[in-house]
């Protein structure tokens, strides 16, 4: 019997260890697994290397994890976003390192990591400061840099719908890095809006086959990062509330209940 469901986000992230490399899905808020990240904030693992295109915004989701001092290194392409204030502070103070990778190279390095390709050549970054220290090779008259596959101990991703074998489909541009991160991580942890029975997803349309997925947890009503940021919310909240009832404990800000 293959059933990859776990009962809570806390259980899903329980074994993430100090020093782990964690790939986090999402491009901006689209596809950001915000509830899994908050569970990781609560869980306490530190000295993490995090792979994400950005560095989060405001003080929720990925930015909350960085703010909590748990991230010793970010591997990303674009750490500078509107409302991204947490990372710049820690970076300038030297407490969080940055490995800047062009976006397409980042995506391809993750894909290579998952595909058993240890290294590949690309023209991206040739002749620029990001080429420094890399092997350059001329192939059929053009210069290319050697880039290495990227793997991780864990991936935290968000999808629209999963079956309990771990087959996944996504919502629009929330797909972004999640499918390649699922292939490149030893343990892939997924938060989904809905779980269905195997066979209910069209086999022609499954984006991530279950072989790449280890744990599934249902978060049927995930928070919207942009709305939280617009309202100036932090995780944990300033009076210390945390966990899955975090938002409900902020009735004055969210009179209508959880978003």
């Amino acid at each position: 019997m293959i059933d990859k469901r776990v009962t809570s986000v806390a259980e899903a992230v329980a074994d993430i260890f100090d020093g782990a490399t964690v790939m986090v899905g999402g491009f901006g808020e689209a596809g950001s697994p915000i509830e899994l990240i908050h569970a990781l904030v609560d869980q306490g693992a530190a000295d993490l290397t995090v792979v994400n295109n950005n560095t989060g915004s405001g003080e929720v989701g990925l930015a909350a994890l960085i703010k909590a001092g748990r991230v010793s290194k970010m591997i990303c392409s674009y750490p500078r976003t509107a409302n991204s204030t947490v990372f710049p502070e820690l970076y300038r103070s030297g407490r969080t390192a940055l490995d800047l990778v062009p976006q397409g190279t980042l995506a391809e390095r993750i894909r290579a990591g998952g595909a058993g390709i240890p290294a590949f050549y690309t023209a991206t970054s040739v002749g620029t400061p990001l080429e420094e220290g890399k092997e350059v090779r001329t192939i059929e008259g053009r210069d290319y840099v050697l880039e290495y596959g990227l793997t991780a101990d864990f991936a935290l991703i968000k999808c629209l719908r999963a079956d309990y074998h771990g087959n996944l489909v996504f919502n629009k541009t929330a797909r972004n890095f999640a499918p390649v991160m699922a292939t490149a991580s030893k343990t892939t942890i997924v938060q989904t809006m809905e779980v269905v029975t195997p066979g209910e997803l069209d086999p022609e349309s499954i984006v991530t086959p279950g072989i790449f997925v280890d744990r599934i947890v249902t978060v049927d009503n995930p928070a919207l990062e942009s709305e939280l940021v617009a309202r100036g919310v932090s995780y944990p909240c300033r009076s210390g509330c945390r966990g899955t009832r975090w938002l409900q404990e902020l009735p004055s800000i969210f009179p209508t209940g959880p978003m």
Partner: protein, 212 residues
């Protein structure tokens, strides 16, 4: 500038528009041309922004603003998206610039200032992979410094990639001989542009002038 650049986008093109002024190009593409827009975060067939307050927060463009999808659009993951870019499948890209050198070198991701947070995004992949690179930029910086230069002083995005530049003063091709003016904005004299350009600037060739 966006309107002028839009005139040069051929019917049937697959186009990636950079964040900022380049995004505006889409609004000016002449009637009758069908152009398909790519956004590197996983959408081919990007449509205009939805009405304020509507849309899906998970349907966004590379600038992280909400967009729509046109009929015939498709979604895909990031590695597949950069297959389109790196693999040379996108016909044309319109980007902003900090500096363009007369040999086509582009600097558009970092001023190299010591306290800046470096951020590159997909710019290096786009210029390395897309066939035709157009740049839209003010002709000079806010302080009046030329942005069209003999050689870039800012960190490069790529070497020898820019094909054409649309500024507030002129339309300029990057050629083996240097910056070649192909069109001056209404009321702008060549000498005025020349004074504000640091590299070799060539006047509109007579042949081209006669056609106009």
């Amino acid at each position: 500038m966006a309107a002028r650049a839009a005139l040069d986008i051929p019917d049937g093109s697959y186009v990636n528009l950079g964040i900022g002024i380049p995004e505006k190009v889409a609004a000016y593409v002449p009637e009758g041309r069908e152009v398909i827009y790519h956004t590197e975060n996983g959408l081919l067939g990007m449509g205009p922004a939805p009405m304020e307050g509507t849309g899906d927060p998970e349907l966004i463009n590379a600038g992280k603003r909400r967009v729509t999808a046109v009929p015939g659009a498709s979604f895909f993951h990031h590695a597949d998206s950069f297959v389109m870019i790196r693999g040379g499948h996108i016909d044309l890209c319109v980007l902003g610039a900090l500096q363009v050198a007369q040999n086509g070198d582009l600097a558009n991701w970092s001023t190299g200032a010591p306290d800046a947070i470096p951020a590159v995004g997909g710019a290096m992949d786009l210029v390395a992979g897309v066939n035709t690179i157009y740049v839209i930029t003010q002709h000079t910086t806010r302080t009046g410094e030329p942005k069209l230069v003999e050689s870039c002083t800012y960190p490069l995005t790529s070497r020898g990639v820019v094909d054409r530049i649309y500024t507030d003063l002129a339309v300029i091709d990057v050629t083996d001989e240097g910056f070649q003016v192909v069109e001056l904005s209404p009321g702008v004299e060549f000498e005025y542009v020349e004074e504000r350009t640091a590299g070799e600037l060539l006047p509109i060739p007579d042949a081209l002038r006669e056609v106009k």
